[in-house]
């Protein structure tokens, strides 16, 4: 894909975030979509491309009343929306459509109009993982972390500092769910969920959604908001079975998607002003910093503990507070994308001064999938 040929011209989250028991999952999609369309100054009838995950495109398109000529229902977990951005950019460049709407919404806490997740007994996960007592992401996603820590000498205190630093960002964000300051000791004394992870190292479970609108960079200048260009993209998958990852010292999908996006954007790590790494759990920023090539894995824990990613640090990371403190409806990728767009537009609650390049890295279905988008506000 050629860089800076497609831009985000609309970006918005649902009117409310948090616990929204009076709104169905499908309506949350619509609420996010209508907010993004208003943000872009468009009408629903302007949308000719559509992508979403979990809910089918036909379901959401029918509900909204739109008739796209390009659809994408890629559903690879929480990073599906990074893949949608990548696919939409390619589709716009190829002339398959002009204006793409991407929606995410999830009634993750209230479970209104949301189908339960289940593992079929005759699937490989059903046969070779489920019988051992895995029960949702908290018992699966952290499985690699003890090996990762042993290999690289990462300490429990360093891992806890991920949550502490992100809470500092959340404190500056009026929309964040959890804003009270916490210490490493608070994290290490919080309720045990799945050793070594305690409550404050696990993401929130909330309701909400978000939507993006993309169009060609040539058209983007006519929109009311400052365009945010797609500079580079990457995607990959590894395995749906956490036990079958190639190694627990790294994510194969991260290592493919991340560097691909950097190469396409033609940037070096020092060019990155703002970074989002999907943090369903506290280990993911460490995996991400290493696998994206910012530093060797063994330095990642100390890097965060030393304050390099906190407000005023040299690499602002997860500046909305992340999945640990901002919100996490179950598929966090859309919120990470929203928080990459905000500082590029200059409207983030905790604005990073003069930021020109934001990297947004996602993960899906534990370590099964990954997508990376490099954004810039300069064409």
């Amino acid at each position: 894909m050629r860089k800076n040929q497609v831009a985000v011209v609309g970006a918005a989250e649902t009117t409310e975030l948090g616990i929204i028991p009076n709104v169905s999952q499908l309506q949350l999609h619509a609420d996010a979509a209508l907010n993004a369309i208003a943000d872009a100054g468009l009408k629903l009838s302007d949308i000719d491309g559509f992508a979403t995950a979990v809910e089918t495109p036909q379901q959401v398109c029918h509900y909204l009343g739109i008739k796209p000529t390009w659809v994408d229902g890629t559903s690879v977990g929480g990073c599906s929306f990074m893949l949608h951005v990548r696919h939409a950019a390619a589709a716009i460049e190829a002339g398959l459509c002009k204006t793409v709407l991407i929606t995410h919404a999830e009634s993750g806490k209230s479970m209104i109009g949301k189908a339960p997740r289940s593992i079929p007994a005759d699937s490989l996960q059903g046969q070779f993982e489920a019988p051992y007592g895995v029960y949702g992401p908290p018992s699966m996603f952290p499985i690699p972390v003890l090996r990762f820590m042993k290999t690289y000498g990462i300490t429990h205190e360093e891992l806890a500092s991920v949550a502490v630093v992100q809470r500092e960002w959340a404190a500056r964000n009026p929309r964040a769910m959890m804003k009270d300051p916490i210490t490493v000791a608070d994290v290490l004394n919080s309720r045990m969920i799945a050793y070594p992870f305690r409550l404050l190292q696990c993401c929130l479970v909330t309701d909400g959604g978000g939507a993006l609108i993309l169009t060609s960079a040539d058209r983007a200048k006519d929109f009311p908001r400052k365009p945010v260009y797609i500079m580079g993209t990457g995607e990959s998958v590894e395995t749906p079975m956490v036990s079958q990852m190639e190694t627990f010292n790294s994510s194969s999908a991260f290592k493919t998607a991340g560097p691909l996006a950097f190469r396409e954007a033609g940037i070096a790590h020092g060019d990155v002003d703002h970074l989002m790494i999907y943090d369903a759990f506290a280990h993911l920023p460490l995996f991400g910093l290493g696998d994206l090539g910012f530093m060797p894995h063994e330095e990642t824990g100390q890097f965060i503990a030393d304050g390099n990613t906190r407000p005023g640090g040299k690499l602002p990371l997860n500046t909305n507070g992340g999945g640990l403190s901002y919100m996490h409806s179950g598929m966090y990728g859309m919120y990470a994308l929203q928080e990459s767009v905000r500082p590029m537009r200059g409207i983030a609650p905790a604005q990073v001064p003069n930021a020109k390049i934001s990297v947004c890295h996602g993960v899906g279905s534990m370590f099964a999938a990954s997508g990376t988008i490099v954004f810039t506000n300069e064409r």
Partner: protein, 137 residues
């Protein structure tokens, strides 16, 4: 009311040999006849070179504790927390998820790289699960 039961695997034609093996007290893996790659979970071709010429063999049942979590909550049906969900690296190379028996479910007792050996736990007359215990001595 019956106690909630642990999730039961439902074999498919491609995995039946594995479950026949555990029932017979054997941990069966597959090896590629073309490139000698040993792999898991079962499939009728080599995921390394795509050859369809593969053989089933009885593994040693020996392995190392590669990583784990100790789940405190929420517990899966049939489990009482805290319990460890472990990944074992088998002597033949592949890794598999399992539980560790005959061992306290604590970080102190569950030492990474500790030696393990397979044991078999019958869930019913159809399914026997491979689990692992610390190797004595």
């Amino acid at each position: 009311m019956a106690e909630p039961q642990r999730a039961r695997p439902k074999p498919t034609p491609e995995t039946q040999h594995f479950w026949d093996g555990t029932k017979a007290g054997e941990l069966r893996l597959q090896r590629c006849d073309a490139c000698a790659h040993v792999y898991f979970p079962p499939r009728p071709f080599c995921p390394s070179c795509a050859s369809r010429k593969v053989s089933v063999f009885k593994a040693s049942g020996k392995g190392l504790l590669y990583s784990y979590v100790i789940n405190h909550r929420p517990a899966a049906p049939g489990f009482t927390p805290p319990y460890a969900i472990a990944v074992v690296e088998l002597a033949e190379g592949p890794r598999m998820m399992s539980n560790i028996i005959d061992c306290p479910q604590t970080p102190e007792a569950l030492e990474l790289d500790m030696k393990l050996e397979v044991a078999f736990e019958a869930l019913d007359d159809k399914i026997t699960l491979p689990v692992f215990r610390p190797t004595k001595g």
